[in-house]
């Protein structure tokens, strides 16, 4: 099911883009970038819905009624939950609106990742899996494309990347992945006037853990995956900035201190 619905179509799309680009040197890297853009465009409504939902939840954290019930029913979790549901209904907020699109996108992101790995076919067994994938659509004649040309700029997309500087292997891509992930998470981090805002605290933790985790992946795994991470992060930043909600002040030291949420002005 997963193979048929996610991996095969995505890998085929990736190979199709690679073929359209001429399947020469550097084209697989470009294909990954275009492929990521196409998938991000398809999932744009989901992302927009997620941003909107997160923003609504964020605004709720600054709502007086909301803050009052937090204090009033701090020791009565059941009553607090009832009151929270009442406020959700009154304000027409779906508390799952921000996380549901993320859950729906999760398989797509994993599929994207697996498709890139599949297309690179680094071992004989991986190549055999790729053979299965391309044989599903024999009319596309992808056999002639294999193996893909994994050279992109200075990188071999099938291997972890580093640049030797004064005898030291600097993992450039891993650093860029970590940096773009940090910027994206900081920009999308909610601002809060409420010092007890748990969602803001969680976002703050995420902005530390995610760059480290993705940077670690980029350090150890094929650099084709890093190209995907960077493209995806940059598109996320652009998309968020396009909504006018990007909080650029978060990038500065101490920039997340009690600033009003921009969209609260409306």
């Amino acid at each position: 099911m997963w193979e048929t619905l996610i991996i095969q179509p995505m890998t085929t799309l990736l190979l199709w883009i690679y073929n359209i680009l001429g399947h020469g040197p550097h084209t697989f890297g470009l294909a990954i970038i275009l492929f990521t853009i196409v998938v991000r465009l398809i999932t744009w409504p989901l992302n927009a819905s997620q941003v909107k939902g997160a923003q609504a939840m964020q605004e709720l954290q600054n709502d007086k009624d909301w803050q009052e019930i937090q204090k009033k029913y701090a020791k009565d979790k059941e009553k607090l939950a009832q009151e929270q549901m009442r406020i959700y209904q009154e304000k027409g907020i779906n508390p799952f609106a921000s996380c549901l699109p993320t859950l729906i996108q999760f398989p797509i992101i994993i599929g994207l990742y697996q498709s890139i790995s599949r297309a690179m076919a680094a071992s004989p067994l991986d190549m055999l899996k790729l053979a299965r994938t391309v044989s599903v659509y024999p009319f596309l004649n992808f056999e002639n494309l294999i193996p893909l040309n994994s050279k992109f700029l200075w990188m071999d997309l099938g291997r972890p990347e580093s640049i030797a500087i004064f005898g030291f292997a600097l993992p450039t891509l891993a650093l860029i992945v970590a940096a773009t992930t940090y910027v994206q998470s900081k920009l999308t981090m909610p601002t809060s006037t409420n010092p007890n805002d748990q969602s803001a605290q969680m976002s703050s933790m995420m902005s530390i853990y995610m760059p480290l985790m993705l940077g670690w992946f980029a350090l150890n795994f094929a650099s084709g995956i890093s190209v995907y991470f960077i493209t995806s992060n940059l598109l996320g930043i652009i998309q968020y900035a396009a909504t006018g909600r990007a909080n650029w002040s978060n990038l500065l030291p101490g920039g997340n201190k009690n600033l009003p949420a921009k969209s609260a002005k409306k």
Binding site: S123, R159, M213, N220
Partner: protein, 361 residues
């Protein structure tokens, strides 16, 4: 720590596991490599190489003594006349190792300065020289003591198969869609690379007149030493394994599961529609009057030369696949299942199982 923080950290840990599981850098991600001499079978399986006594089916030795990330073997081991077992590692230092076949001790190990890729291809030993193809596109040239004796030969593409030789020239197939011919006297390529139209993952089979090679273009091509080439036989899907030549008859198989018998003298197929039970990656093996074929479905077949099935076995159990080319030694035919109940099984020509090998834990 509140529930939300616990949930968040749990999600991150889950994410690490999910992404790790689907990464392209899985520790062991290929099938076993198998070789044999008259006394032992040598099986490269993941992080270990096992020597198995052919009489008893018991382990004679294994290398290394304890598995680690430096040792991950994708390639088939190769025996030399002076008692070495040669194999390259996919492990962290890309070492190319020589092991004493009697003791299992390491003779030498080259970290291979300059080799950028992993070792999928077995080497060829020719005129006391080791020709070791790497996935970085170079063939490394060593003496039998493991010292470089010439600059690496730049072939291009990813090299997954051993060179073959007619005693004069070396023929090496590349995933770059070409067959390259090397003159071992100068360690340089001869003429232009021969365009096969698709990637060639396995070694050519060489005759006095030239070489037969299969590829992802789903056919067999014949290449003359001067580079002239023709498609001589067709297949229904990719031809992965090296064809087996027996007299004038060329046996080969494809990923659709077809087994072909091609008469190179007349240019005609001897059979039609011989399709055992699944895709075939392993090369056919011809011993005496039988052709041995192993399928991805995990079945091991013995066919006679009229394509009649003499017997079939299931050496690895229901969940196993077979991708490794079977090997003959003495009266035994050895077959190594992938993800099977046992790592190696030995049969006689009548299909009677002599033993199976499973390493002690």
């Amino acid at each position: 720590m509140n529930m939300k923080k616990i949930s968040l950290i749990s999600l991150l840990v889950l994410g690490v596991f999910v992404l790790s599981a689907c990464s392209s850098r899985t520790a062991v991600n290929t099938w076993p490599g198998l070789a044999a001499d008259s006394a032992r079978a040598y099986l490269a399986n993941g992080s270990e190489i096992y020597a198995i006594d052919l009489k008893t089916g018991k382990e004679a030795w294994h290398y290394p003594e304890s598995a680690d990330a430096k040792h991950v073997y994708f390639a088939t081991p190769v025996l030399t006349e002076d008692g070495q077992l040669l194999i390259g590692s996919e492990g962290t230092n890309h070492a190319f190792v020589s092991i004493n076949v009697e003791t299992g001790k390491e003779n030498w190990s080259e970290p291979f300065l300059g080799a950028q890729g992993k070792w999928v291809a077995p080497p060829l030993v020719f005129n006391d020289t080791i020709y070791a193809p790497n996935t970085d596109g170079f063939v490394y040239v060593l003496d039998l003591q493991g010292k470089s004796v010439a600059d690496p030969i730049d072939i291009g593409g990813s090299l997954w198969s051993a060179p073959s030789t007619d005693g004069k020239l070396l023929y090496i197939a590349s995933l770059d869609h070409h067959l390259h011919i090397i003159d071992p006297a100068t360690n340089t390529t001869v003429g232009e690379p021969v365009d096969l139209g698709g990637a060639a993952p396995s070694s050519p089979v060489v005759t006095a007149d030239g070489a037969y090679v299969g590829s992802f273009t789903s056919n067999i091509q014949f290449i003359k030493p001067n580079g002239n080439h023709d498609t001589v036989a067709e297949a229904a899907n990719w031809v992965w394994g090296t064809p087996a030549l027996d007299g004038d008859t060329l046996y080969y198989a494809d990923l659709d599961g077809n087994v072909f018998s091609f008469d190179t003298a007349s240019g005609n197929q001897n059979w039609t529609e011989i399709k055992p039970d699944g895709p075939i990656v392993a090369s056919p093996l011809v011993v005496g009057d039988q052709i041995y074929v192993a399928t991805e479905a995990g079945t091991f077949f013995a066919l006679d030369k009229d394509a009649k099935i003499a017997w079939e076995k299931d050496p690895g159990g229901d969940a196993a696949n077979i991708y490794t080319t079977p090997v003959a030694s003495g009266d035994l035919i050895l077959v190594a299942p992938y993800k099977g109940d046992s790592l190696l099984a030995a049969y006689d020509a009548a299909g009677k199982q002599a033993w199976t090998f499973t390493p002690e834990k």
